[in-house]
Symmetry: C2
């Protein structure tokens, strides 16, 4: 039976010793985030994950969701677990205090989210989406809308969803056909949305749909879209629940994974129009929606990290207990002693740590962007978070899938049998490479909008920052230094090539994203190792744990960062052939 222990020591080391949680807790607004409280929060989250969520992970996958007459039943235990989740206040951890949230730094809520995803990714998807809804409503909603909906969304009693995709509008939202018509103080919404995670379920009394729809008389394309709040159940003036709104779930999908998470086809306005309330201004739908998507993308990246961690734990446990073959001394050996199994486990461990470090680093940037006392620092960190968003989303999920795949391989034949649980991790995490914008779309965003923005200030600042650190790390940083040089070359090439040949840049975007992810990961792993050495010299901390940090960083540099210079060729060469290709050549 697969289970999951939150990697508290790794998380706290990263937050406290590498990413400066202490400094962040000094910002006005984050004073509550003392080391003791943060540590207690993580410990409690770990307990909730282990005791409540993790045991439902595999049974939830086996049972899946059921759909009948418009009603969706989540697997046994999910509704009860969600009620406990709401009751114990987990949902409000990072939410603003003015709406009953606990206002914890993003760095803290990020660590807690990773635990939910590791314990039960399908479950964690519900609060993930709700988090995005809370952010959008907080930023753009009217006071009245906020007063009515935000406290219930923050508590989790009325979780929210994101209704973007339609059958002809996936990566290309300009094709959205869902309509809105003004009707007094609200709007009537009509149309069909697909791939709506938790679009319908039995875990809450109400569901708050955030719906991207065409404005009543806006321009064509993405500039004519508005964001609406469309509740499943209408809310009376006194805040009590009233009539059902004119929307329904038509069906749910049969998916490769996250089977405990209902993916709904939603129909709005079959009986004349669902009542919707405008969030922000008309025709600002895309902008408002992207506010929420940036943070959602960080969360999806964290799903990659969380599932990778769980897959690693599962594989490690199996490798310790499974005996096959002989050790060097001819005693029978657990497979963890076989060099190739050891290699796979270290690849899983070090990649998980590297993606965690980059995701948490982005969370720390978000905290500085929100609450750093200096305005310029705030701006710089927001720009840095924007730059990192597609990297965290794409690289962490590509890597999470690779780690889960290795997890299957460590199990040998047992990995292919569903009862083992290893295969579920790959099936589950595979969606993270696709949803909230495919990883190809993330890469296009990175090279097309983020790198060259504002004279490439953010990427150049990041490269300098990493370069300066290099010297402090000592002499054994050949791979990281080469990676940084390759990143610089690739970045310069993208900046130079984009204006005249954006298609050439687009053909290498995915590889550039990987270069940036690996270099960032290598940098932060080395920072962690460097700090571990310091602490060891000071005689502070668990020597075995600190040694492991150094070994993990070295393995990651040798086996992953070392590949970065060669990836430069991939960034630049893809277009050579693609330009000569006609459709008939396929």
């Amino acid at each position: 039976m697969s289970t999951y222990d939150a990697p508290l020591a790794d998380q706290l080391f990263l937050m406290n010793e590498v990413l400066g949680l202490g400094e962040i807790a000094g910002f006005p607004g984050y004073e509550d985030a003392t080391p003791d409280l943060v540590s207690a929060i993580l410990e409690e989250a770990g307990k909730f994950g282990l005791e409540v969520l993790a045991p439902l992970n595999q049974p939830g996958d086996e049972q899946g969701c059921a759909f009948e007459n418009g009603v969706v039943r989540t697997p046994d235990g999910f509704a009860d677990a969600y009620a406990q989740f709401v009751e114990t206040g987990w949902n409000s951890l990072g939410a603003p205090t003015e709406y009953d949230g606990q206002g914890m730094p993003s760095l803290v809520s990020t660590a807690v989210s990773e635990i939910w995803f590791g314990a039960n990714m399908a479950f964690g998807l519900c609060p993930l989406l709700n988090q995005g809804g809370i952010e959008a409503l907080t930023a753009y909603g009217s006071d009245e809308l906020k007063a009515t909906f935000l406290p219930k969304m923050v508590s989790g009693e009325w979780p929210s969803t994101m209704n973007l995709t339609e059958s002809e509008a996936g990566s290309d939202l300009s094709q959205i056909g869902t309509k809105s018509v003004r009707d007094g103080e609200h709007y009537k919404i009509t149309g069909q949305k697909i791939f709506i995670s938790y679009g319908e379920h039995d875990m809450a009394a109400n569901i708050v749909h955030l719906v991207l729809a065409r404005s009543p008389d806006g321009p064509e394309g993405i500039k004519g879209l508005s964001l609406f709040l469309v509740p499943k159940v209408l809310v009376n003036d006194d805040g009590s629940l009233g009539e059902r709104n004119d929307l329904r779930c038509v069906s749910i999908e049969h998916k490769l994974g996250i089977k405990a998470s209902p993916t709904a086809v939603m129909s709005f306005g079959d009986d004349g129009g669902a009542i919707g309330y405008l969030i922000g201004e008309e025709n600002h739908g895309i902008k408002n929606m992207f506010t929420m998507m940036n943070n959602t993308r960080l969360s999806v990246g964290l799903q990659g990290v969380g599932v990778a961690e769980r897959a690693y734990q599962r594989a490690l446990a199996y490798a310790k207990e499974r005996v096959q073959g002989r050790d060097v001394d001819q005693s029978s050996a657990a497979i963890i002693h076989h060099p190739d199994v050891r290699r796979m486990l270290m690849a899983m461990k070090s990649q998980t740590e590297a993606t965690r470090a980059v995701a948490y680093y982005m969370a720390a940037c978000l905290d500085k962007a929100r609450h750093h006392p200096n305005e310029q620092v705030r701006q710089e960190n927001q720009a840095m978070a924007d730059l990192l968003t597609p990297v965290v989303k794409a690289w962490s999920t590509d890597t999470g899938a690779a780690v889960a795949d290795l997890g299957i391989q460590v199990h040998g034949g047992m990995g292919y049998i569903e009862e083992t649980g290893a295969a579920q991790h790959l099936r589950d995490v595979r969606v993270t490479m696709i949803y909230e914008g495919t990883n190809g779309i993330q890469a296009a965003d990175l090279v097309g909008r983020k790198v060259a923005r504002e004279n490439a200030e953010s990427i150049k600042a990041l490269i300098s920052l990493m370069k300066n650190d290099l010297e402090g790390f000592g002499s054994d940083n050949r791979h990281l230094s080469n990676a940084n040089d390759a990143l610089t070359t690739a970045t310069d090439w993208i900046i130079a090539t984009s204006p005249t040949a954006p298609q050439r840049v687009a053909a290498g975007a995915v590889h550039y994203t990987r270069i940036l992810g690996l270099t960032l990961g290598g940098w932060l792993m080395t920072k962690a190792a460097s700090r571990a050495l310091e602490l060891t010299q000071n005689g502070t901390g668990d020597p075995g744990f600190l040694e492991a940090k150094v070994l993990s960083a070295r393995f990651f540099a040798d086996q992953f960062v070392s590949q970065v210079p060669a990836l430069l060729e991939l960034v630049q060469s893809g277009a050579n052939t693609l330009e000569d290709l006609r459709d008939g050549h396929f």
Copy 2:
């Protein structure tokens, strides 16, 4: 609905223009393999695949196998399709003529097998295993055993299985506990086997189990194993079917993929012992079994190729029909026009072609090993086939899974929905990295037994052969030339390091396998491109097809072969950290 067209043009080009089928057809014993006949065979196989097997692929996955009271029901249509398969003689294509086989070259039966795997991998697994059984019995069986069983196995009426794995004996067959006791002219077999593909089913009147079991009084470990033929139904002296033998299917597995293929737990001898007949000599079980496994491993590699081809066809069809976003001229565009989708499709296409080329090259070596008139050439080619076996098995299946994974990504959100069919390809092909010896075991075999064998003659001959060809290819072979140099360095390192530090070599074995696969693939792709250029200059052949060969080779060199030099670091550096690791560091 996903379907599959056999890639006849690609297959025939490779066989005729690159791998010298004409020469092979000149060997005594292969005279029937004229270009016209081979082309007709492939065309008929393509038709059978398209019309009979491919339509059962997705329904078979959805329905899966059912187990009740010891009886296994394969999905609707499978038994009928198998009856047709037997009736039309497909099973006997590569089998020896003295037992009613058609004696076609391995190069031809290899191409045909790829078609079965592309059309329906779960179905194709049954003849795949039977092929191995036929080879083992042909090589080592007594005349009497051959007379009784071979014709029925060759026709496919009594397909055979391989019973190796036990719950405590997976990669380590020395732990096999299944026992044999002499009982007159036969043996009594007792024990339990797991992961037995097609161990029980409703597609045939009898099943011929080849069972690896402990010899009555042999030594411990793998030297005390013998190979037995244990039929499901005993055969009377007149060749008719008699009583049920003392063996039964206990349960079938719930797997990630190939759900239409029953994976059985088999129990032998619950009522006193299943009657088994010795194949070859006592205690030679491992050697005899490996004879069959080498060819089975080529076939598993072909499963990687076949599924990759199908995944590519499915993704290509979707990319042509799915409209999202705008083209450069602002018209709405099928996603095949997006650079990153084009990159993914070319990665799928070129990798599929490269793995096909390497697998077929190995098949041509097998043909030369069997029927080349010169004894020395026969020996050299057998050694080359032995060397290539783990590469074809591991690299083709790693690559097949990577291609199927890209296939999901091309589909975006639809790729995650099972109805699309893209996800099934990944679920199915994932097992090929595991069964018939995990890819880690293949890599260990390559560096531990094959590379250094006989003073590394085969690998050195192969490297020279590739190096000599380089000059003939013209000037644009920077990547291939660098790859060959890296392969040479890696090989020298392995030969030098193995005697003193085999654990260091083992830690890099998987990466070395990849280096060899990529270099071989790049070489054969370049050979194909070179031949395509010649034919274009001669004005022979379809210019578009020939152009595509050149582009595909260039893309493969730029995007895959270019990475080989960097992999050298992975081969050599893995052990650095692993040697310092203690279990507590995980």
